[in-house]
Structure formats: structure tokens, C-alpha cells
Amino acid sequence: MAVRANPNLLEELKHYGADDVTKCYHCGNCSATCPLSKEPFIFPRKSMRYLQMGLGDKLKGNLEPWLCYYCGECSDECPREAEPGETMMSMRRWLTAKYDITGISKLFYESWVAEAGAIMLVALLTGIGFYWFGMTKGGGDFGIYAGPNAFLPAHTEGNFFGLGWNVHTFDWIMGAVLGGLLVTNCLRMWWFTTGSRKDMKVPLGTYIKHAFLLPWHFITQKRYAECDKKKPWIIHLILMLSYLTLLILIMLFLHHMHAPETHWVHIFGYASTIGLLGTAAYALNGRLNKTETHYKHSHESDLIFLFLLLYVGTTGILQHFAYRFLGNEILANFMYIIHMMGVVPMLVLEVPFSKWAHLAYRPYAMYLAAVQADVIAEREGTKVPALAPQKQMTA
């Protein structure tokens, strides 16, 4: 099949943060320096080449950007200051936009005003919606924060159009919509990278064999730990585990959080809040002050995401304090709505369309990479040694 070059690809990638790609003169220093770059996935140099040559289709079917965790060593040692690490990052943004079936992601990445505007719109609608929900579900007492009669009940057989609705109902609806979008986009990702490739006929057994990699990489981010720099992995892991803990606590144990006596949920909740706010603040400070190589370049989407995390974390703990320590239930309910005005746009917009989508794409890419590596190894039979057998010369 003929390969078509897209002369505007570089220009397009500039919106996603790839600025210095043309400086690369292909010395291979980056690919060799990278501790994660192993056959059959050698990066980042090859992806830089695809970019320079405008091979958009090749890039679209490329898993390699997701296999990079951006420790920044390649950029540090690049003799041309071509920023291979940041280029991989921008390719991840671009791929997120490509996987997204709706086109919203592309809009967000290419215009931060659109992203910020959408966030504010969703925030506004959320605020109105939750207030309206609290008012219409029955009593509508803004002065009650917890319990079955709460303004926004966490755990109750409430009376809302005769159905047992509470705030979690929204969680599950939202979860289903987001999950549906992510699964659709992941299917597209599979099609671009594996399904559509004629040289990539994968037996079903191979898919099943590696399935455990999905949860494994999702939870441990073990591959990140293989970078020479360990600190970014630890920061990322704390952030991610803190968020995951809070998500589980809020989804399943929210009513325990409202309990006046200390519950194990509180211990986990406070620890995770500290973890989340601490690491998010660390990352934001890093990005604003360019403290480390991987913080040197920031796309607007990176900052928006960190801002949302900090906003949600702060407002979340404030409403809790307002109720539990100040006993001010009106303030608590007010903060609740303010909090939800961050949570909903963050989940609805960031997860499927922006930076947060990597929660699905990255483990999925590592899974697909393992699958592909199996197929390639099968095809090539015995693995060819790194250098072809050496010719012996006589003098």
C-alpha cells in the first residue's frame, strides 16, 4: 500500500507542542539512551522521523509514544536540542485526538480557549443541575448536608420521580458514558495500531494471554519504574493511587465519610487527599518553574488538568471540613456544589477528550505492544542478534 506523506503534519503537531522536531539529525542517541527503548519498539528517533517525513498514517498506527514515560533523558542528552521527549509527549496528545471519535479532543488540544470554555460551561450546568436536583427531590433543605434528608443525599432511598435516586446515580450514569467513550476510542486505537495492519494477524489466544497486563500496568505503572530516574514514577504513582483511592471511597463509602466518629474511610481519605494535593502541587510547581526536564515544556492542557486536580482536591476537602469540623452544613452544601462544578467537567471532559485519557490508552498500549511483540517474534522465528553475524576478513 502506498504511503502518503502529509506535508502539513509538522504544522499540525505544533498545536500539540512539537516545536523542535526539525532540528533532529537522526544520530540515534535518544533511542540508545532510553532504558525503555527495546526491540521491537525502538523510540523516540523513529517517531521523530515519521513526523519529519509527514507520515501521519504511520504515526497514527504507532504505539511507541505510549511506551515512553518521559523521564527526559533523551532530551537532556540530545545533541541538537530537538526535545525528543517533548515530541513524544506531543504525539501522545495528537494520538489522543486521533483516537477520539467525536473530534472534541482535537478541538480542545488545538484551542485551549475551547477547552477552558467547555469546562466553564459544564461547570455552570453542573452547578445549576445539582442545585435544581437538590431543590426538586423533596424537601430541598440547603441546611442539611448528610443523611437521608440531605440536600444532596449520598446514601438514601430518596424520592425523586418515584425512583431511588441519590447523587451516586449520576456517578454511574457518568461512568457508563465515559466508559463507553473510552472503550470506543480504545477500539479505534486497536484498529489503527493492530487491527488494520495486514502484517499483524493476532491469534485470539495471544490477546487472552496478555490480558493481565492491562490491570497490572494500570495499577503499578511498573514500566515507569524502569526509567533511570525513579522520582517521576513515585510522584505519578502517588498521584494516581491517591486519586483511585478517593474515587473508590467516594463511589462506595461516601456515607461513612459523613459519619461523626472516626472511620477507616477517614484515614484513607485524608491520606489520599494529602497525596493528591501534594503531588499535583509538586507537578504544577515543576511545570511553572521548569524544575525538571519533563516539566520544561507545558501544553495548556497540562496546566488545565493540574489546575482541575488541585481545584477538585481542595474543594473536596473544604466541604468535608465545613461539615465535620465547622458543623456548618450550609457552607458544606455550598462547597459541595462548588466541588461538583470541578469534578464533573474534569471527568466528563478530561477523561475522554484530553490529558486524562492516558489512563486508558497507556496501559492499553502496553498490552497491545506485548501482543504485537509476540506476533513479531513468532513471524521472525528465532530472534536475529543485534548485529548481523560478523564477516571475517583476511588481511
Binding site: 539529525y25 544520530c27 540515534g28 540508545a32 525502538i42 542528552e77 545533541p79 543485534a386 548485529l387
Partner: protein, 606 residues
């Protein structure tokens, strides 16, 4: 005059470089008084120029000529050309006044900038407006640096019967080329080409050779420079010494040999190498026990010398000479590979630099030309084990040559050092020739075989079975006494990780450490990489901003031996031209604003 022209002067600032050292307001004031100037406009820093509004202004002011004065005014010219055309003027009448292009680049350049603007207003290129005055020339010449370039220039000038002072910092002439084994692409023996030239220098009656000497001060003007030279105390009588080696045998102090690039040792009293010119020993004052102890210790060599040539208490001598021309041929130093830690130089014993390899493979080197690995050997004197080269050491099975060490790298030197590709190919040839059973890998980014016969040389090396791998090596690591090379084979699409026994780092070339000091003494400029700046890249590649001072060889920028020799001979011809004609053009820098103004005054009728 047929019609008084109406000139508009636009002064812009690029915001970088030269214009910062020019007082634009002062230039503007000056320009207002120039004939025909009706409008002077300082349009500031990096102006956004709109041809349409420019055209309107030009029409309003009835301008028919425009002078654009800036750092690099060509950048703004198109807007003015269109503006003038829109106003109905002749676009040919846009004159450029380039500050940076005419030497108004340094501090206090405002006077020069005024002169440049004045010339442009008169429609005359600055370079033609006023020619510097001729000056008489002293017939003697100073050549600084005794490498192949300095030797060539000295021999050429002396061969025409003119007196040359050749000043060399090291104890012998010969420079880096004397260390080399073979030359590329001819694979000639470097010493066989160079040593006869060195001997000729030593024997030439017209050449006064001062080795172990440095230029300390330069004053005067083109054609008549007064130069102070410090002749470091050699402490051995150059004439009396017969290089019998008796002093060196008794000397107790052992230090690394500079000539062997540190892979062998020498004594504190030493001769750099057996064919040194002058063929006489010298004392290294930094390591000699007698000197460092203030005459209290040792002194053993003095008694051993049958010729009574050793005078350990000798003092530096400072001489002043007068010369008409100065040839700078100070060469280069190699990049310090220790700066790039990931290649392990200095940490891993069998990672060596190009110069070390030259000595290793050289028949006169410490291993007699055997390519071997370093091995641990007990040093009885220091009571430690040391990694050393010795002829009987095991031979390497896998040799890796890594190009572009410190070159083409934004973290170190951005420029291409130009010779490394070819000398690396030469290294590979020597590996294949001397160790036919060993594998030789070359890791390159781009293969630059740019010179005459170089491409053929590359093809020849390929046929010899050298593995040319496109890709820069990322790192050398050691585990269990075995080095491993990690890199990417770009063409083969593979990440490499394989065992190597000997790694040769093809280090790039750098300006010598004291090039800044010498540039200051001579009053010549250096470019952004530190090389001496030529006067004009194309038309005057060996001249400098200062008349009578020429640059030859690598000190002007990386180049190979043929280019260095060609430049040296070219410089010699230019020096001889000025000596034989007895006159030389004074430096353009000597021209004042008044000189320029005078050239535009109406000449008195003859």
C-alpha cells in the same frame, strides 16, 4: 548639481548584537546634518514595517532616496523597496548601511556607524569610500606555532630569503602531526612527511627557532610590530646537548608523556621524541625535583652530562623583536572526552581518545605499533596497580570507533570538527590491517568524506570489512570486566548492546586554551566558537581585522593537513608580497570618521 536629492534615513535596531553598542540617537543627529537628508527616523527595535504606510510617508516627504541603517539592514530592505515603488520612486534608490558588516560591531562603534551612514547617504559603499593609507613594512616575520602550518609558512618565507622568527610553546616543533601515525587518505607515514620539514626549519639560516617560548606582548602597528617573547628556561644548552639520554636515565621523576598523549611516561628531563627539533633535552620545571625544591634536592643529571650542557639554575629570557607581519598558526587542542561521562573516558581504562590511539598504533609509540588493550601492571615506585599499554598485552577482539565526540553537539561544540570522520576511517583501516581477526565498528552520524579522494578512501575502508553503523553511541557500560556498547543501528533498525574491548573516541577539535589571551595580545577577533576570525570568509580567509596579522591552519577553524599547508603557503605569499613591495595597507580600523568625511569633501580643482 542637477537636482538636489531628498534622502530619508531610517535607523532600525535588530535588538541583537552590534546595534546595542551603537548610540542610535547620536547617529540620527549626525545623519540630519548630512547633505540632502530631509528625514531621519529611528524606527526602533525589530520594527514591523508596512510598505503602504511607508509609501505614504515617502510621498508626503517627497523622498527620492532611502537609506536603511541597521545591524543587518538587508532584512528590512524589501519593505522600503516596495514603499518607495508605491510612492512612485525608483526602487534602486534604497541604500543599505550595515553596521555589523562594516565593523561597527564592537563597543564604542558609534563613530564607525556614523561613517557608514555617511557613505550610504553619499551612495558609496563604505569599503570604497576611503582606502586606508599605505605603511612601510619591516622585512622580518613572526610565526606563532610550530605545527605543520607554522613550519610550512616559515619555510616558504625563509626560502625567499626573508628572516622568520618561529615561536613554539612546546619543547619541539612538529605539533600534533608529529604524533600521528598515518595521514588520510593516502596512508602516508606522517613522520616521513613532517620530519624532513622539521629538520629544514632547524637548519635554515633565515629561521630563528625559539621552542619552549611564548609571545607575551604585541605593540606597534601593521608593518611594524614590536613583539615580546618569553623564552622559558630550557635549562639544557640547546647547542651543546647531543641528546645522548644519559640525563634522562638517571632522572628519578616519572610523569606522563605529552607527546604520547599520556599513554606512556617520560622523565622530568626529557626530549619530547627522538626526532625532535631542536634535538636537545629540556627540563620540565613543574616536575623536576631540583627546580621544585629550589635547588635543595637531586641535581643528578647535571653530573651525568658529559657535555656539561645542563644548567638547572637557568632563567627565563625575555626578548623583544620587531617584525612587519605576524602569522598565527597555533592549531588546536582536542575535546576533553571526560566531559561526557557516559562514554566512560577516564573511568574505563580501555576507552581511549583519538590522539592516544594515534600513539598506540604508531610504530614509535609505547607498544611499538601493536594495537592492544590496557592491562593492570604493578607500579613498584608508587606501589599501586595501574592500567597501562604494553606490547605484550592481550589484543582487542571488538574495537568500536565513535565519531562526533564533543562535535555537532549543542551541549558541547556545535560545529563539525571536519577531520574526525576521515581519521576514524584511517583508524579502522589500521585495526583491520594490524588485527585481521578483530571486528571493527564505526559509529557515525553522517559520514563526511568531503575532500579530494576521500570518498574513494571511504569505499576502500568499507571493502576492508569495517562495520559502518549509522547511529551515535549512547553509552559505554562495564559489567564483570567486560565493556558493553549501547547504541542504535539506525539503518538496521536495531538497538545495539554488545561487548567491546577497545573504544576509540573520535574527539573533535577545539581552540587552544589560551587562544583568547593571544587574540587579546594581537588585537584580533575570535568567532563564536573561539576560532580566530578571518577578515572575510570567502575573499580573505587568512587575513584578520588587523593588517599584517594572518591566520593559518586549524586556529582559524577545523581543517585537515592539506588545507592547513595550503593556507600556510598562501599566507607566506601574502607576507612576502608586503615585504617585497615594502608597503602594506593599514588596517581599516585605523580609519576615523574624519577620514571618511574628508573623502566626500569637494576636491580642490587641480
Amino acid at each position: 548639481m542637477v537636482k538636489e536629492s531628498r534622502t530619508g534615513v531610517y535607523i532600525c535596531q535588530a535588538g541583537t548584537g552590534a546595534a546595542d553598542s551603537v548610540d542610535l540617537q547620536a547617529v540620527a543627529k549626525y545623519a540630519e546634518k548630512l547633505p540632502g537628508v530631509v528625514l531621519v527616523n529611528v524606527i526602533g527595535n525589530n520594527p514591523k514595517l508596512d510598505p503602504v504606510s511607508l509609501g505614504e510617508q515617502i510621498r508626503k516627504e517627497k523622498l527620492d532616496r532611502i537609506v536603511v541603517a541597521a545591524d543587518s539592514p538587508g532584512y528590512y530592505k524589501p519593505a522600503f523597496v516596495r514603499g518607495l515603488a508605491l510612492a512612485g520612486g525608483d526602487p534602486e534608490n534604497v541604500m543599505l548601511a550595515s553596521f555589523v558588516g562594516n565593523g561597527a560591531g564592537a563597543q564604542g562603534s558609534t563613530e564607525r556607524a556614523k561613517a557608514v551612514v555617511n557613505c550610504a547617504v553619499h551612495g558609496v559603499p563604505y569599503g570604497l569610500a576611503a582606502t586606508p593609507k599605505d605603511k612601510p613594512v619591516h622585512p622580518d616575520t613572526l610565526v606563532i606555532g610550530g605545527g605543520v602550518g607554522g613550519i610550512q609558512a616559515s619555510l616558504e618565507i625563509a626560502g625567499a630569503g626573508k628572516k622568520v622568527y618561529l615561536v613554539e610553546k612546546f619543547g619541539t616543533i612538529g605539533g600534533k602531526m608529529a604524533m600521528f601515525d598515518k595521514t588520510f587518505p593516502t596512508l602516508d607515514c606522517a613522520a616521513c612527511i613532517l620530519t624532513p620539514k622539521m629538520v629544514s626549519v632547524g637548519q635554515d639560516k633565515n629561521i630563528t627557532l625559539w621552542t619552549y617560548a611564548e609571545v607575551e606582548g604585541v605593540s606597534g602597528s601593521p608593518g611594524n610590530y614590536k613583539v615580546t617573547v618569553r623564552k622559558h628556561a630550557r635549562r639544557v644548552d640547546e647547542v651543546a646537548c647531543v641528546a645522548c639520554n644519559a640525563c634522562s636515565e638517571i632522572c628519578p621523576t616519572v610523569v606522563p608523556s605529552e607527546f604520547d598523549a599520556g599513554i606512556s611516561t617520560r622523565k622530568a628531563i626529557y626530549i619530547p621524541f627522538p626526532q625532535a627539533v631542536p634535538n636537545a633535552f629540556l627540563v620540565d620545571e613543574k616536575s623536576c625535583l631540583w627546580v621544585t625544591s629550589g635547588g635543595k634536592k637531586c641535581g643528578a643529571c647535571v653530573k651525568k652530562c658529559a657535555k656539561e650542557a645542563i644548567h638547572l639554575d637557568a632563567q627565563d629570557e625575555v626578548v623583544e623583536i620587531t617584525v612587519g607581519n605576524i602569522v598565527v598558526a597555533t592549531g588546536y587542542q582536542v575535546f576533553d572526552a571526560q566531559k561526557i561521562d557516559r562514554y566512560g573516558y577516564g573511568r574505563l581504562p580501555n576507552v581511549i581518545t583519538a590522539l592516544e590511539y594515534e600513539r598506540l598504533t604508531n610504530a614509535s609509540g609505547p607498544t611499538g605499533g601493536n594495537i592492544v588493550m590496557k592491562a593492570l601492571k604493578h607500579n613498584k615506585r608508587k606501589k599501586v596497580d595501574e592500567w597501562v599499554f604494553a606490547p605484550e598485552n592481550p589484543k582487542p577482539k571488538n574495537v568500536a570507533i565513535i565519531h562526533c565526540i564533543g562535535s555537532r553537539d549543542h551541549n558541547y561544540n556545535k560545529y563539525c570538527s571536519r577531520v574526525c570522520c576521515m581519521y576514524s576511517l584511517k583508524f579502522a583501516h589500521l585495526v583491520r590491517e594490524k588485527l585481521p581477526d578483530a571486528n571493527c565498528y564505526e559509529f557515525y552520524i553522517d559520514m563526511r568524506a568531503y575532500g579530494k579522494n576521500y570518498e574513494a578512501f571511504l569505499e576502500h575502508i568499507k571493502e576492508e570489512g569495517v562495520h559502518l553503523v549509522r547511529g551515535r553511541t549512547a553509552k559505554i557500560e562495564e559489567a564483570d570486566g567486560q565493556m558493553r556498547l549501547k547504541g542504535e543501528d539506525i539503518i538496521g533498525d536495531k538497538v545495539l548492546d554488545f561487548p567491546v574491548d577497545l573504544v576509540i573516541l573520535s574527539v573533535g577539535l577545539e581552540p587552544v586554551g589560551d587562544s583568547e589571551k593571544l587574540a587579546g595580545l594581537l588585537g584580533i577577533a575570535r568567532d563564536e566558537d573561539g576560532w580566530y576570525a578571518e577578515k572575510d570568509y570567502n575573499a580573505d580567509p587568512t587575513g584578520t581585522e588587523r593588517g599584517g596579522i594572518f591566520v593559518a591552519g586549524v586556529c582559524q577553524g577545523p581543517k585537515d593537513i592539506p588545507d592547513t599547508v595550503a593556507q600556510a603557503s598562501e599566507v607566506a605569499a601574502r607576507v612576502l608580497k608586503s615585504i617585497i613591495s615594502g608597503r602594506m595597507e593599514d588596517s581599516r580600523n585605523a580609519l576615523s570618521l574624519a577620514d571618511i568625511e574628508a573623502s566626500f569633501r569637494p576636491q580642490a580643482q587641480a
